[in-house]
Each structure stands twice: as C-alpha cells, then as structure tokens.
Amino acid sequence: MGLVARVIEAAGIPTVTLNMIWVYQNLVGMPRVAAIEHPFGRPYGDVEDADTQRRVLRAALRVFEQAAEPGHVEHLPFVWHEDPKATKWHPAEPSPIIAMIQQRRSR
C-alpha cells in the first residue's frame, strides 16, 4: 500500500497511510504515515464501535496538517480494547504463502 501512496502522491494528490506495521516506512518511504496499534483487518476500530472509528479517522486526517516534510510518521495514541491473545484476526486457514513456509520448515 505504501507503494500506491507514492504513486498517488507523485500524481499530485496528498496521501496519508494509516498503518499498523509502520516500520515498513524504512523499506517503502511513504509521504505521511499515521501509525496505529490496531489488529490486522480493523485499522479504524472494532465492529460497530463508531466512536473509535470516528476518532481514528479524525486523527488520521489531522496528519495532513501535522506533516511538514516527506516521510513524517505520526504515532496515534489509540489502545485496542482487547489483549493481543484475545484478539482474533487470523483467517480460518493459513494464507497460501504462510502454509508454504510452514511446510518447508517442518521438513
């Protein structure tokens, strides 16, 4: 997604990327990053938690005004409401690449 942000930005439209794994910044170089500690699949907040979704959206949009130079990373202060161990985000079965890696390692 960071690569897409670069293309859109290069076309003249400012971008903010709301990102869980914000350390990808070193690999990609995104114009503006809003880093968030939310589980995969629910970057803006949980199901029917309109309040968190609205606050995250506002905070991410604010980064357009906060970022003064390319590569700015803003750490958003949101805390997910469940412990990681209790947070289910995985697909029902491992993705093809993960299954392939696991199979190789078990040999």
Binding site: G2, T15, N26, L27, A60, I97, I98
Partner: protein, 173 residues
C-alpha cells in the same frame, strides 16, 4: 531527546512467527528512493476526501478479487483494483483477502473503509466533501509489485484526479 508520548508497537498483534517473516524484509535504516510530496492545498474543512483499502473489496456484481490465482501461486497476489461507490455498505460489498479474517468487514465496512464516519465528518463541517468513488486493492502482492505500481496505482490516481479529489487516505489491513 524527550521520550515519545506513545510509540506504536508494530508487532503487538502479529505474533512471533509473522513478526519474524515480515521483519526480515525491513531494513534498519531508511532504504527508499526520495519520497514524493504533494503539498496540501486546502484546509480539511474544504477538502474532498477519498478512501482506499487493501482489503480486497469489490461491489457485489463486480468481478471479485481472484483468490484462486494466489492459491495457485502463493508468492503472488491479485494486483488489480476496484472502484467502490460512496454509499457502499457491508451488505453491498465482497471482501477477498486470504491473510485476515474478513468477517469483521462483512459485519461493518467502517472497520476498514469508514464511509459512514467520513459522511458524518462532512455533515458536521470538519471535512469538505466525500468523493463519489473510493477504492480497493488486495494488499498481499508477494514478490512482484510491478502491476500494482505500474498499472493499478496510476489508474487509481487518474480516477481520483478526474473526481478532483484533494486528499487520499489509505489504510492497509
């Protein structure tokens, strides 16, 4: 240097295995070409905003993202893109992505594409306008990002420009 108020832990939900697999690809120091920069031209309250998700979203009736391709080629992913309407809801979309539980998105689209929330911000005057179209790609591209970067992303940028979008907010899942 003062300590940061809050630094996001990028691996909090990843688990050890995924952290190991993903972090192996990430350099310790910046290793990218110069970052493109388009200055923000108007305040948020006057800006037209478009959203983009990597959740593999498509409108029902449109061609869904191709998951069989990735099952046949685990190091590759569907690199195409889809246009979504501003009134899209959970009931009107499909979500195809083999790396997350898409069930949450199918219950409430706003967890990944908060169109309802954006409309509320427009209604209260915090945001100027919601774009007619919003966008999705499927985030897992594996070893080859050529088509995503060379074909899909420029097409999305053109579509945004044709609707005079001022700001694009992207969210990987």
């Amino acid at each position: 240097m003062l300590p940061r108020m809050h630094e996001v832990d990028p691996w909090r939900f990843a688990g050890g295995f995924l952290k190991k697999v993903l972090s192996a690809r990430i350099p310790d120091e910046p290793a990218y070409d110069p970052i493109p920069w388009a200055p923000v031209r108007r305040p948020l309250a006057e800006a037209k905003v478009a959203l983009l998700s990597t959740a593999g979203l498509s409108m029902k009736g449109d061609t869904p993202f191709d998951m069989d391709f990735e099952r046949r080629h685990p190091t590759r992913g569907d690199a195409s893109w889809r246009r979504l309407t501003a009134n899209a809801r959970s009931e009107s979309i499909e979500a195809n992505h083999l790396h997350i539980d898409t069930g949450y998105i199918l219950r409430d689209l706003n967890v990944a594409l908060p169109l309802d929330r954006l409309r509320e911000l427009v209604a209260e005057g915090a945001v100027g306008a919601i774009a007619e179209s919003h966008y999705s790609i499927m985030g897992y591209q594996g070893s080859d990002t050529t088509e995503l970067v060379g074909v899909s992303a420029p097409a999305i940028a053109e579509a945004m420009k044709s609707e005079e979008v001022d700001l694009a907010l992207l969210a990987p899942v």
